[in-house]
């Protein structure tokens, strides 16, 4: 067993689970979506991205790409949240909430792809 691999797998799966946790619930109901969960998802996703840096294999490149997509989607969701509450002044309306959650849904998809690649990579290695 390799500690590096444990850490790598941990962060990828953790990013996906946090993302899922935030995403689940009614699309436009703010009560179902916690801001701290979104924050944690963003941080863990960023760390997962950095862990994927510098791998020049084809699988490594796809890994990095999916992570970058997830980061982008989650950051966009956070920006929509900040805009709705602080800049627009309308507060967290159902419309704003649904766009935040759907953005995080996109990120979730990218994270699922990442996990699938991780599993595929593991299965390919017969050790």
């Amino acid at each position: 067993m390799n500690l590096e691999k444990v850490v790598f797998g941990f962060f990828i799966v953790f990013a996906a689970t946090l993302n899922f946790g935030f995403f689940i619930g009614d699309l436009d109901n703010p009560v179902h979506h916690d801001i701290y969960e979104l924050f944690a998802a963003i941080v863990v996703n960023l760390i997962a991205t950095v862990l994927k840096f510098g791998d020049r294999t084809q699988i490594g490149a796809i890994h990095l790409a999916t992570s970058l997509v997830a980061d982008l989607q989650l950051l966009a969701a956070a920006m929509v949240w900040g805009y709705a509450v602080h800049v627009a002044g309308t507060g967290l309306t159902a419309g704003a909430m649904s766009s935040i959650v759907s953005l995080s849904g996109g990120a979730l998809f990218a994270n699922v792809v990442s996990v699938v690649i991780l599993i595929a990579e593991t299965i390919m290695q017969r050790r």
Partner: protein
């Protein structure tokens, strides 16, 4: 770090920065999270709300980057200030660690090397003009690069010695010459340097290490078989090895000088003609005294000494050898000594000798030998071997009859082969010619163009090199002769200051000094000698249909649709 591909530096940077980046993200996350959790100060109506994520990220962004706008959006509570103090120290540690890693990386030899290789590979890839790949920027390499630069070609240089690469950057070439400090013997390096690029016109390998030259030769043979490769080789085994896999041009400076010497003994005019035609552009050839027949003395029986002995003996001249060790072939007359003192020269009979060859591998000894010998016999013909270009001032001051500088010989030979492929067959003809013919030609040419090294160029009558003549000949209406073509496109159409030396035509023997009434055919290859001006004017004629029309008929043809139509009307 493997150098199989130019490692993308961005990946290298990212890989090195993995840990510092994770540390920074973690510190940022902890600080922001803490800020959103710490209770705010008490306001007029109860406690103010805790900082939202938006405000926490905003506050921490300007605090961590040391911009420090103060406490926004409200004056903080004591608990918040306590947490911010912790955050500030955390972020300072994070930045210090990151910057430390970045600077350590920027000074890392491997990293710098990767950057240099990548930049070099990119420079070469961006070249959109023909270039030559030069391996080894020693004395010969510098001469070649200068000459290539003067002729308007680019060079890509690989040199192992860092100081010489630095020297190349200091030279004032008119074009940038991409240079890499690396071992040319590595095929990867050659690939970065554009060996397989479609703009590469030839490979020249001139390092003073025969093994490296051999490695480059075989790499060029396998990776770019159609490219001409010019390889320097000093040992007979290397020459044989290179020849075995079909290296096109192997240049052995000692052999070459031996050939020159033999030619000079056999036909001084042919030798001068050869020297004049293959000189470095922008130099002047001086006429040497012809080497006399009689007994010669040779000091230093090494590789060069052996070649020279062969050349002299083939011309039927007896040679006395002065060396510390007896020659392998006992048939020679041998005197023990090193030739720098009176005794050995005396013993070798310097007083009744006609010439001396100082052929040791040591410049100062060579000079000492000829100076001593001239004192003892002022009429001696001297042949000096100069090993280092840096000693030129000394050798110039002595005014030897022949000076053999390996680097110059190699560069002459390379340039002649590379820039004018037709020159080699012509020079072969010169070598085989008889003395009066060469003498007549030499007097004729130098009388017309002077002793400055002339422009020598070859032209093929095809679409690429002579489009206007190609179209004219394709129409088939007229067949201009050489004389008609070789006129300047100015008033009165005077003859160009150039002379055709060789005409190669398919299905015919190459004709030396073709006559002026010879008519041109498609696919003709012609070698010219003349002035730079003539070369440019001929180029204009060959490329521009109107100029060609004027040169052939003396009439300006109208250009443009309207004028052509008017001219046709008037004619009709």
């Amino acid at each position: 770090m493997g150098s199989s591909t130019p490692t993308s530096t961005i990946f290298l940077v990212l890989r090195r920065l993995r840990t510092p980046l994770i540390v920074l993200i973690t510190i940022f996350a902890i600080s922001v999270l803490g800020l959103t959790l710490v209770p705010g100060p008490s306001g007029p109506d109860g406690a103010l709300p805790r900082l939202s994520f938006f405000h926490a990220v905003y506050f921490f962004s300007y605090t961590a980057t040391t911009i420090g706008f103060g406490e926004i959006p409200y004056a903080f509570s004591e608990q918040q200030r306590l947490w911010v103090t912790v955050c500030i120290y955390l972020s300072v540690i994070g930045w210090a660690y990151t910057l430390g890693t970045v600077f350590a990386m920027l000074q890392d030899k491997n990293f710098l090397n990767a950057v240099a290789v990548q930049r070099f590979a990119r420079q070469v890839k961006r070249l959109r003009e023909h270039f030559f790949l030069v391996c080894g920027y020693g004395e010969t390499g510098r001469l070649i690069c200068q000459a290539l630069d003067e002729m308007g070609y680019r060079a890509v240089v690989i040199e192992r010695d860092e100081a010489k690469v630095g020297d190349l950057e200091l030279q004032s070439y008119s074009a940038d010459m991409p240079a890499l400090c690396a071992d040319a013997g590595q095929p990867d390096t050659l690939l970065f340097a554009g060996l397989t690029s479609k703009y590469c016109r030839g490979v020249i390998t001139l390092t003073n290490d025969d093994n490296t030259n051999l490695a480059v030769a075989i790499a060029a043979r396998l990776l770019a078989p159609s490219l001409p490769a010019l390889c320097r080789a000093e040992h007979a085994e290397t020459v044989a090895n290179m020849a075995s896999f079909g290296t096109r041009h192997i240049i052995n400076p000692f052999e070459k000088f031996g050939e020159y010497m033999a030619l000079a003994l056999h036909s001084p005019a042919a030798y001068h003609l050869l020297l004049w035609l293959t000189g470095l552009p922008g130099t002047t050839v001086t006429r040497h005294r012809d080497p006399p027949g009689g007994r010669w003395v040779l000091c230093g029986y090494g590789t060069f000494g052996r070649v020279m002995t062969g050349a002299l003996e083939n011309a039927g001249l007896p040679v006395t050898i002065i060396d510390r060790a007896p020659p392998a072939d006992p048939a020679h007359i041998w005197v023990k000594g090193d030739g720098t003192g009176h005794e050995a020269l005396q013993a070798a009979g310097i007083h009744d000798a006609v010439g001396i060859v100082a052929a040791t591998g040591h410049d100062v000894n060579n000079l000492s030998i000829v100076v001593t010998a001239r004192q003892m016999n002022p009429g001696l013909f001297t042949v000096l071997r100069q090993n280092q270009v840096a000693n030129r001032a000394l050798f110039d001051a002595f005014e030897s009859d022949f000076t053999m500088v390996p680097s110059e010989i190699v560069s002459h030979e390379c340039l002649a082969i590379l820039t004018t492929p037709l020159l080699a067959p012509f020079l072969d003809a010169v070598r085989k010619s008889d003395e009066p013919w060469a003498c007549g030609l030499l007097d004729d040419l130098t009388g017309r163009f002077g002793w400055d090294v002339p422009a020598v160029w070859s032209v093929t009558l095809n679409l690429a090199q002579a489009p206007s003549v190609y179209r004219l000949l394709m129409r088939g209406a007229t067949r201009p002769s050489l004389d008609e073509l070789l006129r300047a496109p100015v008033t009165d159409r005077p003859a160009l200051a150039c002379r055709p030396l060789l005409l190669m035509r398919d299905g015919r023997r190459p004709s030396l000094l073709p006559a002026g009434h010879e008519t041109l055919q498609l696919g003709d290859q012609i070698l010219f000698v003349g002035t730079e001006q003539a070369r440019k004017e001929l180029g204009l004629t060959l490329f521009n249909g109107h100029t060609l029309q004027y040169v052939l008929t003396g009439k300006d043809s109208p250009g443009g649709l309207v004028w052509e139509w008017l001219a046709r009307r008037r004619a009709g």
